[in-house]
């Protein structure tokens, strides 16, 4: 079997912080607008449904972790053999590259909107790939530690932004609840699936996370906090922009600008936004990091540095060439290609517990 980090790299606290502080940031950029487009005033209902759907793969992850210490690849290898496991890792690698596209596009457009008053070129975003290439060379332990750091990098700026923007928000615009047909809310779930797909991101952490007693309770609380942050942000967002919300790209960088004190002291809220951008940068790199990890598993190559450099170069070229077709590509990922996200982030984790029934997997179970 492939040489991988045998020691548990992530503990329950770090898993909780990943869920509570890292993943929600992905939902602050374009997801609010997509919800508003589909569900309008019912965007909270839509977000709640999306979050409830996402609970299932998290629960499956915890269930498998409680039963076995095997990694995903060891599980597949035990059930289907070495070659299937390798092919599976390469497929998963391809999925992570695919899943990295929407956050990459979000990050690119967001960086232009929030960081430049001038007219930036696509090369202004190029440093991101250097950053990402560096992160991709690091192991899973670093992901856990970055989650620890996200506690501080997420919580203070997020609360700061909410405090500065909540006064400008008119929450009555969210009423009445269920004013839209439920199918619209479901449409919101489909179009934002790329932003609610943490189930797949957890899969490579199997076997690197050691299940502890009481983990279910802690993870439930963390996931609850994650949902709360998302709903709070969406409520404030819609409360500020109401009917204009469907047109507000990257409102995350703008919601606090109406805070009265800022008119005197300048856009200091942007410093909070920049801090949250650090968390977002960690998030965008996560699928790329996992893609490198899966690739190394599948090919038995240990040259992480080389592959991460090549992968990020390819990602940069992808962004460079498709930059002009942003709307078309983004539209594709949020509509036609949504089932791919469902398949890998929801269905795959839900079917994985079935592997535990296999006699060879059973033999190695806890």
């Amino acid at each position: 079997m492939t040489k991988i980090d045998e020691a548990p790299a992530i503990n329950t606290r770090q898993l909780c912080f990943l869920l509570a502080f890292l993943f929600p940031v992905a939902r602050f950029l374009e997801a609010p607008r997509l919800f508003a487009v589909a569900a309008k005033g019912d965007l909270l209902v839509s977000a709640l449904v999306a979050s409830l759907v996402e609970i299932l793969p998290v629960a499956a992850f915890l269930f498998i972790s409680s039963k076995t210490d095997k990694t995903l690849f060891q599980l597949v290898e035990a059930a289907f053999g070495k070659w299937v496991a390798r092919i599976f890792s390469l497929i998963l690698c391809a999925y992570f590259l695919f899943a990295a596209v929407p956050p990459l596009f979000d990050a690119e457009k967001f960086s232009y909107a929030a960081f430049f008053d001038t007219a930036p070129t696509v090369f202004s975003f190029a440093p991101f790939f250097i950053f990402s290439a560096f992160l991709c060379t690091k192991n899973v332990k670093a992901i856990g530690r970055s989650a620890d750091l996200c506690l501080f990098l997420f919580l203070f700026p997020f609360l700061g932004l909410i405090v500065m923007s909540v006064g400008e928000s008119d929450f009555s615009s969210l009423l009445p609840i269920f004013s839209q047909p439920f199918t619209h809310s479901l449409q919101g779930v489909v179009s934002t699936k790329a932003h609610f797909s943490c189930g797949a991101l957890l899969l490579p952490l199997l076997g690197r996370y050691r299940y502890e007693k009481g983990a279910v309770k802690k993870v439930s609380i963390a996931y609850g906090a994650s949902v709360l942050f998302t709903l709070l942000f969406l409520a404030v967002f819609y409360g500020i922009y109401t009917t204009l919300a469907a047109r507000e790209h990257y409102a995350f960088a703008k919601i606090a600008q109406y805070f009265p004190a800022l008119t005197v002291v300048g856009r200091w809220d942007m410093l909070l936004v920049y801090l949250l951008t650090v968390v977002y940068a960690f998030y965008v790199c996560l699928p790329l990091q996992l893609a490198v990890d899966c690739f190394c598993q599948g090919t038995l190559l240990q040259q992480k540095t080389l592959f991460s450099a090549l992968l990020n170069l390819a990602a940069f070229l992808f962004v460079l060439f498709l930059n002009q077709h942003y709307d078309a590509v983004y539209g594709l990922f949020t509509s036609t290609l949504s089932p791919v996200f469902f398949l890998f982030s929801d269905l795959l984790p839900l079917f994985l517990p079935l592997l535990l029934l296999h006699k060879r997997v059973k033999a190695g179970a806890r």
Partner: protein, 532 residues
């Protein structure tokens, strides 16, 4: 593989060379004083190695060999030469020989008893040495060697008196409250300063010699039963494996044991204060004292240590927390202010309020440089002035500060080369960095990097550079310790003494990150409110 005659001869030569070298090293003394003196002179031909020959009362020859300037000659005269000169060594020897049944007299020579001789010396620090190699080491270390005719051993007398600087307050770690003693360059003084604070048998100092030419004394200090043994053993191995010509300072040890060759961040803690050193040992860390260096090393190291001062533990916890927050903010200002100033003007003017932006624009209107070039020049000027004022003689340095700060700065603004806000920004950044003296080296380099990134890539590049620094720190473990601990990985217990500083009563257990076996450090519970 066949051995050619050439290789064979070479091997034979090598064998004999090694044998000869070995013989020289383990060569022992004879019973004749003059032969012994010659052997020692051959081993130590340097001109500053002196010998003084004298006789006992009954004419037995003796000599003291020492390195000039490293021994206390008064002590040697009073406590070594004078007692021996008044002894009848021959008679003493004959008496002891009568007592011994298996006495084997070497012809007509008497056998002076080394034990009796040692007891006759009025000196507590005395030991025997048999090999020439050991004797030369002791002499070079500053001790005197007593040789007596008829004894085939040398007697090492601990009369070392090296030139030592007086104990004073370290200039880079001044405290308004708390102890003011600082380490000096002498190892023994430093060891005493530590022992004075930790009068416990658990305090261990594993002494070793490092440096082929300098033969520097290094001590690995730890509290047995409190420090992490795995770390201690790993460090011991690392120190023993150091093979270097000369070890002039503890910074060499830092560089030689650091797990990363090219890291911008420190991986070993340093202190010049024995109270801080003792406190760190008591927390479960391991310390290293290096002879010739006033800077002691402590491991493992976390970045938060840089933001802590010894004074934090002698003022109220509220003040200490305030100071730490202040230092953290100051360092952030020092690192990012010039970069943010540049990037704001070039890429994101929205960050500044309109009034301030207009003021900056007004003063920068006629400056012939771009904001990034201008800030770059001012920072360069600042660093140059700083470097020059440190290296220059004190009085010239003072006038240089006046020239630099007033004349050059004022003239540059008047001439329209530089704008006043830029000078203010860089000066503020420079001052802020000095709130954390241990971070100055790293901070200066980071400030340059951030400035270049901000000027070329804008605020997004700057944010990524900050994120990259953080991620690097997340994964740059040294001796099993992540530099960002206890924040990442998060150790909630240790946050009590990280940025926030709790009261002493709340710090009743040792920090968890040091994996100490003995967890409790405070048993006094007390402190209840008045009964009334």
């Amino acid at each position: 593989m066949s051995i050619t005659p050439h290789i064979f001869i070479k091997n034979i030569r090598a064998y004999f060379c090694v044998s000869i070298a070995h013989t020289t090293c383990v060569k022992k003394l004879s019973k004749k004083l003059q032969n012994n003196l010659q052997s020692l002179k051959a081993a130590l031909p340097a001109e500053d190695i002196l010998s003084y020959e004298f006789f006992s009362k009954d004419g037995v020859g003796a000599a003291i060999v020492y390195a000039d300037g490293m021994v206390n000659k008064g002590l040697i005269g009073d406590l070594v030469i004078r007692p021996i000169a008044s002894l009848n060594l021959k008679k003493q020897a004959e008496n002891s020989q009568k007592d011994e049944e298996n006495n084997q007299n070497d012809g007509d020579r008497y056998e002076v008893n080394a034990d009796l001789l040692q007891k006759s010396l009025l000196f507590p620090e005395v030991k025997e040495a048999e090999k020439i190699e050991d004797m030369t080491k002791e002499i070079l270390d500053g001790n005197a060697l007593l040789l007596v005719d008829g004894i085939e051993k040398g007697i090492v007398v601990g009369t070392k008196m090296l030139p030592v600087r007086a104990i004073s307050e370290p200039p880079a770690d001044v405290a308004v409250k708390g102890p003011r003693e600082g380490f000096v360059e002498d190892f023994k003084t430093n060891a005493t300063l530590v022992r004075k604070r930790l009068k416990s048998p658990a305090l261990r100092m594993d002494v070793m010699r490092v440096g082929r030419r300098s033969d520097t004394t290094i001590a690995l200090c730890y509290l047995d039963g409190i420090c992490d043994n795995r770390l201690k053993d790993a460090l011991q191995k690392k120190l023993q494996s150091i093979d270097v010509d000369v070890l002039p300072d503890s910074s060499y040890v830092t560089a030689l044991i650091a797990p990363r060759k090219h890291s911008l961040f420190r991986s070993v803690g340093t202190t010049e204060k024995p109270d801080v050193f003792a406190a760190k040992l008591a927390e479960g860390r391991v310390g290293i004292l290096v002879d010739g260096s006033p800077i002691a090393l402590t491991l493992p190291f976390t970045l938060t240590e840089d933001f802590q001062s010894s004074e934090d533990y002698f003022v109220s916890p509220f003040m200490a927390t305030l100071f730490r927050v202040l230092r953290l903010v100051a360092v952030m200002i020092a690192l990012f202010l010039p970069a943010v100033y540049v990037t704001t003007q070039l890429f994101k003017m929205q960050l500044l309020p309109l009034g301030l932006m207009l003021t900056i624009a007004k003063s920068a209107r006629e400056i012939p440089f771009s904001p990034s070039m201008e800030t770059f020049f001012v920072l360069l000027l600042f660093e140059t002035l700083k470097e020059a004022s440190i290296r220059m003689p004190k009085y010239v340095g003072m006038s240089l500060s006046v020239v630099g700060a007033l004349v050059l700065g004022e003239a540059a603004v008047s001439a329209g080369f530089l704008s006043t806000p830029t000078i203010i920004i860089v000066a503020l950044s420079g001052i802020c960095l000095y709130t954390v003296p241990n971070f100055v080296e790293t901070g200066s380099v980071l400030r340059w990097l951030y400035l270049i990134v901000a000027g070329s890539l804008g605020p997004f590049g700057l944010t990524l550079a900050g994120a990259l620094t953080l991620y690097y720190l997340i994964s740059a473990d040294s001796f099993g310790m992540p530099p960002l601990a206890p924040f990442s990985p998060l150790v909630a217990h240790d946050l009590k003494d990280a940025v926030a500083k709790y009261g002493i009563r709340d710090l009743d257990t040792r920090p968890k990150i040091y994996r100490s076996k003995n967890k409790t450090r405070l048993r006094t519970q007390g402190g209840n409110r008045d009964e009334n």
